[in-house]
Amino acid sequence: MRKLTIILRNIPLLMALCLISPAIIRAQTDMDAIMMTKNNLCVGPMFGHSSWKNYWEGTFKRNNQNLGTVSTNMYGLMGVYGVTTKLNVLFNLPYVTTNASQGTLHGQKGLQDFSLWIKWMPLEKQLGNGLFSIYTLGGFSVPMTNYIADYLPLSIGLQSKTLSGRLMVDYQLGNLFATASGTYTYRSNITVDETSYYTSGEHITSDVNMPDMAMLNIRAGYRSERLIAEAVFTKMNTLGGTDIRKNGMPFPSNKMNSSMLGVNGKYNIKAVAGLSLTGGAYYTLAGRNVGQATGYDLAVFYILDFTRKAKNPTGHSSKQSSKK
């Protein structure tokens, strides 16, 4: 369940970029070092909101009265299932709406990209007084609808299919923990509606080469059975791509980079076993060809236990239980 907390924490990322944004990021649902217990399904709705007024046109930071404040809302259904305590499957299905407060451009809405992750914990061992663990994750995302990609900053996604690999390490000492992960995301080329387009040169084709992406995520804080509170830093880079030209238009293959700082929290409600609330907020420190987004997200999760005899309905984290 904690994992969900963390799942949420990525959402900010997704949303931040959403404006001038890589949908891919949304696929990165899990960056925490928690595993669901075998045969447990943790599932629930989430809501995320992000907005920006300033953005980076290449490296030039500016605002734009013809956009005003660009905001994105995301309504998602997320879940994690414990195949075993060492192998989890995660999914996310978001519906996204966009809006510009000024200017004349029409907002967009629609079902965006479905993402699925497989998370495996190959190693968990005592190290010093704490617990050290390693995780590997693989995930993909696919657009669920034919939404328009080349309508930035108001398109709801980029239409690229993605494949990601992630390596994550975690160390927990008492109730304090730190987690670090690195992710490489392969992005498929996309096809745009126009017959030719300009990036750093004219392309006489509708096919667009989408550069891959890399992400670093570091998080640290307090973690107990009841409560998680953490600070998160995320740095996301596009490995290639071009800048938006001065007073030019954004394009899906832009070099979208972002550094973000945020906080997350999760609370397991005592009164109802298996029910938890999560929330987070974040701020964009620096970026390139993205909006300087701030945002928040909220979610409610509930654990469904599919084991015949549920020994411990709230024991959704193997790490947690092993720590105990």
């Binding site: 192998l87 907002g107 497989i118 328009i148 494949l163 080329n189 387009y197 300009y198 030209r245 030019g248």
Partner: protein, 517 residues
């Protein structure tokens, strides 16, 4: 056991990621266009009617040296030297230019227009700087290649290329010098063997005339274009199709012909098309005096209207008086029920747009950072011309007819826009949210429709079997502006008709230029 399976799965996924990342190259549709292989060399094209040149031999080209002279033999040795050591880069450049100089220069032009089609960023006080041809490298870069500017640029380059090639063909027929590979059989043919005379080189004529035109149109790009011109000439030599002396004579001829077009361009009134604050204000008061709501910029901060005096630019296919006669009657009064109805229709289209409509709007958007509607029609035309095996001179003639029609359509359209100074739908009803940026100039009549009507008309004449397709495309381009929320239906239906009328002037020229006998 379980663990093994999982680790296999994970490492498999990693391998897929790595593997897929290597297969993402994309290529232009015309990248491997075949070498030009004309079904008819148009040997008589030296007699075709030129645009500005009074005669095909206005500029003298000296008779070439005989092919048995030491100078020419040195030319052959130069070719042999290149052909001994052609790198893969050389081969690629040869293959690239073999597809046709008119095609490649048109593609390069489209890229330049897209590169320079960026509206200037505002000053801190909310005014806008204006690009200056006197200081082209300072921001805002000169030019702002907006749709009227672009239409004019394509037309000047195409028309100059056409006149230069007519002169070239005149001298080819006059001097009848064989190709290097026809003189010396040890010279390889890197491309298609042709019986078209070699002197002066058609590749060099195109390189020279185009490079020279850039001095007027894209002064920031002179250096880059010069390099491309040299590559085209070198490719012609390396391919065995031209001797150095063919090249020298061709480039000089091309540059001389360009001078006539540059002189015209400097006095065609385009330089004054930006207007000034008094002129901009004048449109408002004149429109108010007629009882109509005047157009106002929907950009923030408000931007002066785009090239308001472009409607006074000197056309290619008719005179300035004809521009006025081609101008349509007025749009519905801004206070009329008809205008309310037109506005409501736009609102209804754009309120809940379908994905199909969004795609059509985007396909035809041709807005900021693109090659503009004229470039889009050049793109359509070029890809239709490729399989038709035109000679280089016929390519130039067809492109010139198309682009002169597009420029003149732009002139009549702009003349109309600033005569009526009619507001955009969103100005009449701010609830109209658009699917593409609202162009910063008056609504009536639609530029896309006028451009497209003209282009479809002349292209339908040049390739009759595609006339229906062009007409459908023009209708779609026109309609895209209504379903995109930026034009009233009447702007578009009227624009199409006006465009067709302009296109008919291009047909008149086409049927009397000597190329269709």
């Amino acid at each position: 056991m379980n663990r093994k399976i999982i680790s296999f799965a994970v490492s498999g996924l990693v391998l897929i990621v790595i593997g897929l990342s290597c297969k993402k190259s994309i290529s232009d549709r015309t990248a491997s266009a075949p070498a030009l292989n004309p079904s008819n060399q148009d040997l008589g094209a030296g007699n075709w009617r030129t645009v500005l040149l009074s005669r095909p031999d206005t500029f003298a080209v000296a008779a070439p040296a005989a092919t048995n002279t030491p100078g020419y033999l040195a030319d052959l040795n130069e070719i042999k030297g290149y052909q001994k050591n052609l790198s893969s880069g050389d081969q690629e450049r040869i293959q690239y230019w073999n597809a046709g100089g008119v095609l490649r220069w048109n593609e390069i032009m489209r890229g330049l227009v897209a590169k320079y089609n960026l509206p200037p960023y505002q000053n801190p006080d909310g005014t806008y700087p204006i690009p200056s041809s006197a200081n082209p490298f300072a921001y805002p870069l000169f030019p702002f290649a907006n749709p009227p500017y672009a239409a004019r640029a394509y037309a000047y380059v195409s028309a100059a290329q056409y006149d230069a090639l007519v002169a070239c063909w005149h001298y080819k027929q006059l001097y009848n010098r064989p190709r290097p590979y026809a003189v010396d059989s040890t010279i390889q043919v890197k491309g298609v063997k042709t019986t078209l005379p070699s002197y002066p080189s058609e590749a060099a004529v195109l390189a020279g005339v185009t490079a020279e035109m850039m001095k007027l149109l894209f002064p920031d790009e002179i250096a880059n274009i010069q390099q491309l011109a040299q590559q085209q000439e070198l490719a012609a030599i390396e391919s065995g199709a031209a001797a150095r002396s063919d090249i020298s004579a061709g480039e000089a001829l091309g540059r001389q012909v360009a001078q006539q077009f540059i002189a015209r361009g400097r006095t065609d009134r385009a330089g004054a098309a930006v207007g000034n604050p008094a002129i901009w204000a004048g449109f408002v008061t004149q429109t108010q005096a007629t009882g109509q709501i005047p157009w106002s910029s929907l950009e923030l901060p408000a931007r002066p209207p785009m090239l308001p005096l472009f409607g006074k630019v000197l056309p290619f296919l008719f005179d300035t008086n004809t521009v006025v006669t081609l101008r349509p009657g007025p749009p519905p009064s801004t206070s009329s029920d008809e205008m309310k109805s037109q506005t409501q229709q736009v609102y209804n289209y754009v309120k809940n747009p379908s994905r199909d409509n969004m795609g059509v709007v985007q396909y035809w958007a041709d807005g900021v950072g693109t090659y503009t509607p004229s470039g889009h029609w050049d793109d359509i035309a070029a890809e239709d011309f490729i399989p038709r095996n035109f000679s280089e001179v016929r390519w130039a003639r067809n492109m010139a007819l198309l682009n002169m029609a597009l420029m003149d359509a732009g002139i009549v359209c702009w003349n109309t826009k600033y005569f009526y100074f009619n507001p955009r739908p969103t100005q009449m009803n701010p609830a109209i949210k658009t699917l593409t940026g609202i162009p910063n100039f008056p609504s009536y009549i639609s530029g896309h429709s006028t451009f497209s009507g003209a282009a479809a008309t002349i292209l339908g004449h040049l390739i009759p079997e595609r006339a229906g397709v062009y007409n459908t495309l023009a209708q779609q381009a026109s309609m895209s502006r209504v379903i995109g929320g930026i034009h009233y239906p009447i702007d578009c239906s009227t624009g199409l008709v006006v465009g067709q009328n302009v296109g008919n002037y291009a047909i008149q020229r086409a049927t009397s230029d000597g190329a269709e006998q």
